[in-house]
């Protein structure tokens, strides 16, 4: 589904990614871990199409399409979803109206009729239950005055509504208390299925305890230095990133 080959990228002239390779298949859950500044969020931004980042080398194919050629909106319409680390507050735009617009833009792109009001409300109701989000939040402006947990829950709600093929969760666990983390993780788990891939970017083991990823990758200095199964995350939790860095510098010395 997603094929990242040798991606190099820079922002404002500073090289951040130094050749990332990653293959993600439908139904898989991949976790990307790594210390601060390793390039995790840069990778998410590049995949979503943020304009400040420049891809200097490599390719990204999503469902056979050259994704780097697509605008952010077309990537979303093709089935990509990014849950933001810091969801943006947009005063004056109602959440419900926004999601309806987004959904219908996507449907239009895929040659479908816009959803009528009744079907839309039915879908909203169903997905609201799924991710345990309160209706009152959705009548308000996008994320305006939401708590950290409410913002993250709203991200997962949007994911539920937009039904992406590939979802990237960028530090969705950051800033969440234990209860909020459980609710968000349960929401994500309910959205897992054999057709949908998920990439989880995180610092911590605790979200992975809930999600049980199929693969764990460790990003250091803009490169994936180790890939493994969920046990790798446990090892990291125990030993920290330093042991990998040590191994890495040893390897580079050789």
């Amino acid at each position: 589904m997603l094929s990242i080959k040798n991606i190099h990228a820079s922002v404002e002239g500073k090289q951040i990614l130094n050749g990332i390779n990653l293959e993600v298949k439908a139904g898989e859950v991949h976790a990307i871990m790594g210390p601060n500044g390793s390039g995790k969020s840069t990778l998410a931004s590049i995949l979503a199409g943020r304009e400040d980042y420049e891809v200097t080398e490599g390719s990204v194919f999503f469902e056979g399409n050259d994704m780097l050629e697509l605008s952010p909106e077309d990537r979303a319409r093709e089935g990509l979803f990014l849950a933001f680390q810091y969801p943006v507050e947009i005063p004056g735009v109602s959440t419900t109206n926004f999601i309806k617009t987004a959904l219908n833009e996507k449907r239009k792109y895929n040659g479908q009729e816009p959803l009528d009001a009744v079907s839309f409300l039915k879908m909203m109701k169903q997905k609201m239950q799924l991710v345990e989000i309160d209706k009152s939040l959705l009548t308000r402006s996008i994320n305006e005055g939401f708590s950290g947990g409410e913002k993250k829950r709203n991200e997962i709600f949007q994911m539920a509504m937009l039904e992406p093929k590939l979802a990237i969760l960028d530090e969705t666990d950051s800033g969440l208390d234990i209860d909020a983390l459980r609710i968000v993780a349960n929401g994500v788990n309910k959205l897992r299925n054999e057709n949908r891939a998920i990439i989880v970017i995180t610092h911590y083991q605790r979200l992975l305890d809930y999600l049980q990823p199929d693969f764990v990758h460790v990003l250091v200095n803009g490169r994936i230095v180790r890939s493994g199964t969920k046990e790798l995350a446990l090892e990291l939790e125990e030993k920290g990133y330093d042991f990998l860095k040590d191994e890495l510098s040893l390897a580079e010395a050789l």
Partner: protein
């Protein structure tokens, strides 16, 4: 190079003075023209007019059409605003109030609407004497004096004590610029008596390809416990320029709510003055300017607190594209007696093009020591982060942009309390922003 032409105005003035016999108005005009000749048109070195060069508009001669009445009912129909079926519709053609084409739905028990020339002969003579042209005390410039010099064919609106009018006033200003450049100078005096409520909406339409210049003065007097609601919608053609002065005097403890929406036109200057003449007055002034091409809009506001415990809030927002330019100048006076004044002011702008400009200037002059005043202004572009967020959900850049701009404008549009009008303005804005 063309020079400024005002000589012809003298003949027009003499013509008007000799044709009308009425002493009260004639004296006011005489005084006005004396002032006009003394100070002339506002020049660029006049600080109040530094950024709005109105004198250039007088490099051509204007027709001051008196009696020709070429606007038809069909023309009027094209300009009617939603909700007109329930409104008191006042038609002005080339600056003159035309009773025959106007429709007053309120009963005479509720309100009186008369041409100024007639009203001055009725029991309202003293009231008019007392209140007409008090705006002169605050506005000494030549453009105001010019309106006063030609004060003729204006309207007097009196809302009776204890009457909350069910029929809003719609004032349509038509300028017939089909054959000549046209100068219209509407003048009105509105008196809202104790415990009464009146709502006024002004709308401007130029017909024809020649230039029109509207130089309007409206004075609104608000008595004790009365409410004045005022809306101005400027959506005229690019060859229509305007100076509008809305001079509101709150002579009793009363309430004002005003919204000015400017969407299209040539060079526009809006003077919005609120004079707090009694303790405990409250005023809310809002403005929205959505400008493109070469349109210039200058909103000059004045809130003059002369007595204690008055509250005022000003909130103006603008979106400027192309070569459009805007000015916001917010003056707040707090006189020595005006302790416990609360006066707030905010002006926010989005510039969509490199060639658009905005000048924003708060001007607070405070002579009392126990007051709360604040002002703030912002100038920026669209929030890139918000734009990206919307796009990552599959919303096109263009649509995301208009959603954000609509949201920005909505803060002001929602202040239009008259629903048919609010919906109308909302539609105009959606239409405008979706083209971009």
């Amino acid at each position: 190079m063309d020079t400024i032409k005002t000589d012809y105005l003298k003949d027009k003035f003499n013509e008007l003075q000799s044709s009308s016999a009425d002493d009260v108005l004639s004296n006011i005009r005489e005084e006005g023209f004396k002032n006009f000749n003394k100070v002339g048109l506002p020049a660029p070195h006049n600080e109040e007019w530094r950024l709005t060069g109105i004198s250039n508009l007088f490099k051509k001669e204007y027709h001051l059409s008196e009696l020709e009445n070429t606007i038809t009912i069909a023309d009027i129909d094209t300009a009617r605003l939603p909700g007109y079926e329930n409104a008191n519709e006042l038609i002005f053609i080339n600056g003159k109030f035309i009773p025959e084409l106007s429709t007053i739905r309120s009963s005479e028990n509720d309100c009186i609407v008369l041409p100024l020339e007639e009203a001055i002969k009725t029991e309202y003579k003293n009231l008019i004497d007392e209140h007409l042209n008090k705006s002169y005390r605050f506005i000494k410039d030549g453009i105001h004096a010019l309106n006063t010099s030609f004060m003729h064919g204006g309207v007097f609106i009196y809302i009776n004590k204890n009457k909350v009018l069910q029929h809003p006033f719609y004032l349509y200003h038509f300028a017939d610029a089909r054959n000549n450049h046209l100068l219209s100078q509407p003048r009105s005096l509105v008196y809202i008596d104790e415990n009464a409520k009146g709502q006024l909406t002004e709308y401007y339409t130029t017909i024809g390809a020649m230039d029109s210049f509207t130089n309007e003065v409206m004075e609104i007097v608000v008595n004790t416990n009365a409410i004045a609601e005022y809306y101005k919608i400027q959506n005229d053609v690019a060859n229509a320029s305007q100076v509008t002065t809305t001079h509101i005097r709150q002579i009793g403890k009363s309430y004002t709510h005003a919204v000015t929406v400017s969407l299209n036109g040539g060079m526009i200057r809006n003077n919005m003055n609120v004079i707090m003449e009694k303790e405990g007055n409250e005023a809310h002034l809002y403005g929205l300017y959505l400008l493109k091409r070469k349109t210039h809009v200058d909103n000059h506001t004045l809130v003059d607190n002369t007595k204690p415990n008055c509250f005022s809030n000003e909130f103006y927002k603008g979106i400027l594209d192309d070569n459009a330019s805007g000015v916001f100048n917010g003056k707040i006076f707090v006189r020595q007696d005006a302790q416990k004044t609360n006066a707030y002011q905010s002006n926010k702008n989005i510039l969509l093009s490199d060639d658009a400009t905005i000048n924003t200037k708060p001007q607070l002059e405070i002579f009392a020591d126990d007051v709360k005043c604040s002002h703030g202004c912002t100038i920026g572009q669209l929030d890139e982060e918000a734009l990206f967020y919307l796009r990552t959900r599959g919303i096109s850049k263009e649509l995301a942009q208009s959603m954000l701009l609509e949201a920005f404008a909505e803060d002001i549009v929602m202040q239009i309390k008259h629903e048919p009008l609010r919906k109308y303005v909302e539609e105009l804005i959606v239409e405008r922003l979706s083209i971009n």
